[in-house]
């Protein structure tokens, strides 16, 4: 589904990613962990197509398409979803209107008929239960005045509605209390299927107690320096990131 090969990128001349390799297949859950400043969020932003980053080498393909050539909205329509670390407020635009517009763009792209207001409402009500959201939620402006937890739940709710092939969760656990974390994780888990994949970006192991990854990768100074199964996350939690680094610098 997603193939990243030797991806190098930076911002304003500063190199951040120094040759990232990653392969994600349908049905898989991958976690990318790493200390602050290792390039985790940069990777997420570049995959989603954010302006301001310069790709200096390597490639990223998504379902066989050159991802880096696509506009951000085209990537989204192809089925790539980014749950933002800091969801953006859009004052005056109600959530229902926003999400219906987004859903219909995606549906048009897939060759499915657009949903009218009634169909849409029925459709999203199911999804709202998944995230334990109140009905008045749809009437509120997108993320405006939301608490941190509500914003994150909203991200996963949008993911549930848009049904992406690949969902990238950028530090979705940050700023969540334990109850919200459970709601969000159970939402994410229920959205998992054999046809889609999830890329979980996180600083802490905590989230991975709830969303269990098939693979864990450690990103450090712009490179994936270690990959393994879910146990790797536990090991990291115990020994800290320095452990891998020290281990690496010693001759094998």
């Amino acid at each position: 589904m997603l193939e990243i090969k030797d991806l190098k990128a930076g911002v304003e001349g500063t190199s951040i990613l120094e040759g990232v390799n990653l392969s994600v297949k349908a049905g898989e859950v991958h976690a990318i962990m790493g200390p602050n400043g290792s390039g985790k969020s940069t990777l997420a932003q570049i995959l989603a197509g954010r302006d301001g980053y310069e790709v200096t080498g390597g490639s990223a393909t998504f379902e066989g398409k050159d991802l880096l050539e696509l506009e951000p909205d085209e990537r989204a329509k192809e089925g790539l979803f980014l749950a933002f670390q800091y969801p953006v407020e859009i004052p005056g635009v109600n959530s229902s209107y926003f999400l219906k517009a987004a859903l219909n763009e995606v549906r048009k792209h897939r060759g499915e008929p657009e949903m009218d207001a009634v169909e849409f409402l029925q459709f999203v009500k199911e999804k709202m239960k998944l995230l334990d959201l109140r009905e008045d939620f749809l009437k509120r402006p997108v993320n405006e005045g939301f608490s941190g937890g509500e914003k994150k739940r909203n991200e996963i709710f949008q993911m549930a509605v848009l049904q992406p092939k690949l969902a990238i969760l950028d530090e979705t656990d940050s700023g969540l209390d334990i109850d919200a974390l459970k709601v969000v994780s159970s939402g994410v888990n229920r959205l998992k299927s054999q046809d889609n994949a999830q890329l979980i970006i996180t600083h802490y192991q905590r989230l991975l107690n709830y969303i269990v990854p098939d693979y864990v990768h450690v990103l450090y100074q712009g490179q994936i320096i270690r990959s393994g199964g879910k146990d790797l996350a536990l090991e990291l939690e115990e020994k800290g990131y320095d452990w891998i680094n020290e281990e690496r610098s010693q001759p094998a």
Partner: protein, 482 residues
């Protein structure tokens, strides 16, 4: 010779004394402005004597004035002697014969706005034989209004059928001495709307120029007068979301609203005159004087405007709150794109006790557009406990546009209170990227964000007008982002 015929004699002789004869049979006046032209206009329209006298007084006063320069708009000097101040309404047969003859670009825009075919023809000035829907609707509509004693007609008709009402009220809210453009309008206005709501009557429908017979060709100097008697109420819609082309570059309209005890007037405008091309050439100069007088106790006047057209907009719909407990409101969206300039805002003058006013202004500047909010909130010394709330927001799109705010507050009464909030924001790349990431294109994202920003104002518009206004903003913003 009787006294009356003497007057007529001197009147006629004076016309000659200018060495210039205007044939009443003629369809148009020659370019330029003098007292003969004004008499010609008045005669053509078979107006009562008081009207021509008033026009002449206005003209004489206008000659002592100069074009105001305080607004933050720039344009080359206007040659007032090169303007044709009267031309008869166009006959059928002139103009395009069918929509095939109309500029395809204009049709494309109509399409985007979802305007019905018949309406497209009317807007594009196509000569059609079939009776317009709007005309037949208009007729049944007028009968219904007449049953309740409501007068809704062109101001020309009002001068014929209800001259006493026009004489009583014209110029009482905007006197001909008010300002340069109002004086000019008073001297030369050719048509406009007149609306009179009798005591205690709640007008049962939205009144709109669209439904008024003879609405077309009201010309560049439009004059509107709305009077709401005690306890009455009316909602009036002016303009149209479809782009309106006009060969006259200068527009100087006057709108006067008068609300007596417990009366309410709601006046909504969508202005979409031709804004000029990509380089800023052409486009309408729109210099408008709009004012409402809340003369009666507990009266209320509410202005809502959506200004997206014209090369230059110079417009300050205002309220004079004389009656105790009267309320004034101003809700505005002004958008400038390409090389458009807008200097718009309001004046709220609090004279009576416990008067209240609300100002919500949303400026949007895109392209090379320049957008200024100019407002005055004034409390006179007897305005005990008067209150104002003002909110002036500016939204910038791109880095070539400009937003400016000129709020003035004058207070002469210590018991009054005023709250003023102002923000300037840019459509954030964050917001656009967030929308993009959900599959929404950049242009759609901008439209969505702008419409969200304008929501408070659109909520004031009648429902279907609000929907149209949203679409209009979208069309007006096209090409504003790369």
């Amino acid at each position: 010779m009787s006294k009356a015929s003497e007057t007529i004699d001197s009147f006629v002789n004076r016309e000659y004394s200018y060495g210039f004869v205007t044939d009443v049979e003629q369809d148009s006046a020659p370019p330029g402005l003098n007292e003969d032209i004004i008499r010609f206009i008045s005669k053509k329209k078979e107006e009562p004597d008081f009207m021509v006298d008033w026009r002449l007084r206005a003209y004489r006063y206008w000659r002592t004035l100069e074009v105001p320069t305080w607004a933050k708009v720039y344009f080359p000097p206007i040659d007032f002697q090169s303007i044709v101040y009267y031309s008869a309404p166009k006959q059928r047969g002139e103009g395009p014969q069918s929509l095939d003859d109309v500029d395809p670009k204009l049709l494309e825009t109509y399409e985007k706005l979802g305007i019905p075919l018949k309406e497209q023809e009317r807007l594009a000035g196509v000569a059609v034989d079939a009776v317009f829907d709007s005309v037949s609707v208009g007729t049944t509509f007028q009968d219904k209004l007449a049953e309740q004693g409501i007068i809704f007609c062109s101001i020309s008709e009002a001068l014929q059928n209800h001259p006493e009402l026009v004489e009583k009220y014209i110029g009482t809210v905007v006197p001909y001495t008010d300002n340069f453009f109002a004086s000019l309008n008073s001297a030369v206005f050719t048509d406009g709307s007149f609306c009179y709501i009798p005591k205690g009557v709640k007008c049962p429908m939205e009144l709109s120029t669209y439904f008024r017979i003879n609405a077309a060709n009201t010309g560049q100097f439009e004059r509107t007068l709305i009077v709401a008697e005690e306890g009455s109420s009316v909602s009036y819609l002016e303009g149209c979301t479809a782009p309106q082309r006009d060969e006259n570059q200068l527009h100087a309209a006057v709108v006067e609203l008068l609300a007596l005890d417990d009366a309410q007037i709601k006046y909504s405008t969508v202005q979409n005159w031709y804004p000029g091309d990509e380089e800023g050439k052409g486009g309408i100069y729109n210099f408008v004087t709009k004012r409402g007088l809340c003369k009666g106790r507990n009266s209320k006047i509410s202005w809502t405007q959506v200004e997206t057209g014209s090369a230059i907009t110079w417009k300050y719909p205002s309220c004079v709150l004389v009656g105790d407990n009267s309320v004034g409101e101003f809700y505005s969206v002004a958008l400038t794109n390409k090389y458009q300039q807008a200097d718009t805002g309001t004046k709220m003058t609090h004279i009576g006790k416990n008067t209240r006013s609300t100002v919500v202004s949303k400026g949007i500047s895109a392209g090379h557009g320049q957008n200024s909010y100019r407002g005055l909130v004034k409390f006179n010394k007897n305005a005990d406990n008067a209150r104002n709330f003002s909110q002036c927001d500016s939204l910038l799109i791109g880095d070539q546009s400009g937003a400016h705010t000129f709020p003035y507050i004058e207070g002469r009464n210590p018991t009054t209170s005023v709250e003023h909030e102002a923000t300037t924001s840019k459509i954030g790349e964050d917001q656009i990227f967030y929308c993009n990431q959900r599959g929404i294109s950049t242009q759609d994202a901008v439209n969505m964000i702008v419409n969200g920003y304008c929501k408070e104002v659109f909520q004031q518009l009648p429902m279907e007008f609000a929907v149209e206004a949203q679409k209009l903003l979208g069309v007006s913003l096209e090409g504003s982002v790369g």
